[in-house]
Symmetry: C2
Subunit: 430 residues, 2 copies
């Protein structure tokens, strides 16, 4: 098939008429489908129902160190949970704090603490004229929402398939002492599914920030979320690499079991250096007497150990792999050779990223919505929701069932074709 | 028996010798008892083991409104939990936000949010030269720890058996726009077990603060924690009273199930006006996608309704009542007529407060510690840990078992006698 730009105006006009006819068919189906958020589907949630059985009224809710999980105490988490999440995060259990249900909450609190009390003795960010963060784009909208809420200037840094453009990152953090952080999703990134290369991680660990309170916000949300047994991305462990590079305090690392067990009832964790830990513990002891220990124990008893968790993640992969492949196959089938967009084919994580022709993303998302399929809002992958090229669309294939996903991806591809064809048609006019 | 101050020096000297002999007996027992914190005892925790049975892998974890509790969503809590905690807090479910395990965390976050973003559009507290809080004394050390951590000036206000001295509270908040809050434990207060009178609550609701962002931090931690069936304190509901008084936005009200089910795995809540709710929701949506919903559902299914919770609390009372009475009886038996201290006899809550002779509290606590009984640190009931009269001791009778508590209270009374006698003896010398 000819690419759209190679078609004559007449050919394109005919194509558009045909596409509109197909679009009306979708409209007549009165769809209500949601591909907007990275939510596990019901089948995935069912995998963890065993969590509800590991504790009952005859269970001993005592930890290995004798702590009664039902009572007050254990500010930074019970030992066995630190061990399990240590294995999950590839960190020393001693470098880990277990929190409540939400790692987003941990990230918010980390920014908030830096605002009110500074980091390891530095000036609280609220006392500074301005604070800036680097934001690899496209990126995760909820990260950007936190920094926006705190009035932090967000500076976009382009992502590549090996991570953020490190030349730019190195230059900016070395030059500007107001740059205090960078948001990273280093493995199976949100939304592209890219994993940082060894070179990228090494360069992160060797950053020479002008601000001594600069921190890398390393959100390893998808560390365990492989789609394939035989093709998996590996990441150099960042805390260890920072330590080797002589920059032990450079990183806050976040993770959770949200997409391993239940997003509505998981446990979150932070891993960082002993110096940062002391700093955080000093605040945490005023904030709470401790997070939910029974749920920590529940997770430990459910998985038993990291091998149990890995096996569990293979079951997630079995559910998700066909969904990712269905979207990829649909895009391949419908769009190859048309030259109207590219998409990522990640080996893990929760998203596929689609890059449309410039200026088309909003229109594509709007078209899909008018036919009953909700996609992540165009622009959401950029700070302030403003994608300057209007070409970034995040596709979240996990939540819908196979049939709905087939319909939704077909509609999506159709919307891409329609909007792109109309754009090219209009351009040919002038 | 003569009071110590009526004794001659010689009589006192003999008494001291006798007391020291008794004290050595306790030392020889090599005790390791803890009466320092308001922790439920194991028997109390056992009351809630049914929580572990209400959900299993065959349970439907769907809320009444169709929300799957396992997945993301429900930022401010599931409806049925808002309803249960609404009944518990005597508030409209719509005025309630459910949080994670710790109400202290909610209070910390409330102060922190005011620091970084202000309250309903007012200047963030971090931008002010100074912020002040009123602190009824004696009070709760963890409240004071939060305000101290934020560098807030804490102004002590004396407690009476009907609540804080309201003349002083009214005067101070009307005069000083830097006073932004007051810590209150309005029912079965920590540490005295006093409940605010109707008059006090009415005056709170009618405060005319100079600061429009002044808020009452109303920590109703012990709302359900009666010790007796037939003698119970009732409190005018503060949000309703504020609404009636035309000051709907004056209060943040906190509560949790920490001392109802498990301190290590409960749910916390905040109740406040719709305006404050909007303000908080605007922040909360950046902080988290939602707190643990499965645990909310677990609590609802366990208690079924408020009557279930009330009946549950009667079982707590049956365990706690004899403990409180044992301490009170011991103090009565050992100290009556000696004129060396007074103590409260609360109808609920977690503490008994002992007021020693001035300058004796630290010494009493130290003596008890040397014989193996840990009491709450003297001074802890005052801001900055500084009790100017050194006469306030918080007794926490809930955690030890009956036998240990008998020993510990007897030792406590002995230490009071010994320290007081030595003080009076020394005074008679001069």
């Amino acid at each position: 098939m000819k690419s759209y730009s190679e078609m004559t105006r007449a050919e394109l006009g005919e194509e558009i008429a045909q596409l509109k006819k197909e679009y009306r068919k979708f409209q007549n189906m009165e769809l209500h489908l949601d591909m907007s958020r990275g939510k596990p589907c019901q089948e995935q949630l069912d995998l963890s129902m065993g969590l509800m059985d590991v504790l009952d009224s005859s269970s001993d809710l005592t930890c290995e160190d004798g702590t009664d999980c039902r009572n007050y105490g254990s500010l930074t988490g019970i030992e066995e949970a630190c061990e399990l999440l240590g294995d999950m995060m590839e960190n020393n259990p001693k470098d880990i704090i277990i929190y409540g249900n939400s790692s987003l909450n941990v990230m918010y609190d980390t920014v908030s603490r830096a605002f009110t009390h500074g980091i390891m003795g530095s000036t609280p960010w609220c006392k500074l004229e301005k604070v800036k963060f680097l934001c690899p784009v496209p990126g995760y909208d909820r990260h950007f929402a936190i920094t926006e809420y705190f009035g932090i200037d967000m500076i976009p840094v382009p992502m590549t398939c090996t991570g953020p453009q490190m030349d730019l990152v190195e230059k900016l953090v070395a030059e500007d002492p107001l740059i205090k952080g960078i948001w990273c999703v280093p493995k199976y990134s949100n939304p592209q599914g890219y994993s940082y290369s060894d070179e990228t991680v090494r360069r992160f660990a060797r950053l020479k920030p002008a601000a001594k309170d600069f921190r890398i916000f390393w959100d390893n949300a998808y560390g365990m979320h492989h789609l394939y047994d035989d093709k998996q991305d590996y990441l150099i462990e960042i805390l260890a690499e920072c330590k080797r590079a002589g920059n032990p305090d450079l990183v806050y690392k976040f993770a959770s079991t949200s997409k391993i067990t239940f997003p509505g009832s998981g446990i979150a964790a932070l891993a960082t250096s002993p110096n940062n830990m002391d700093d955080i513990r000093n605040q945490l002891k005023r904030q709470t007497i401790g997070h939910d220990k029974v749920n920590q124990l529940r997770h430990v008893r459910f998985f038993k150990d990291i091998h149990g968790m890995v096996e569990h993640m293979r079951k997630h992969a079995e559910i998700l792999r066909p969904k990712f492949e269905m979207v990829e196959d649909t895009l391949e089938r419908e769009l190859t050779d048309l030259n109207i967009g590219t998409w990522t084919k990640p080996l893990g994580g929760y998203f596929i990223h689609f890059e449309s022709l410039p200026g088309c993303a909003k229109a594509i998302v709007a078209r899909a919505k008018k036919a009953g399929v909700i996609l992540t809002g165009a622009g959401a992958t950029w700070p302030y929701g403003k994608d300057p090229n209007d070409n970034s669309i995040r596709i979240a294939p996990t939540y819908p069932n196979a049939q709905d996903l087939a319909t939704a991806s077909a509609l999506f591809a159709l919307c891409v074709k329609l909007v792109s064809a109309e754009k090219i048609y209009a351009e040919k006019e002038t």
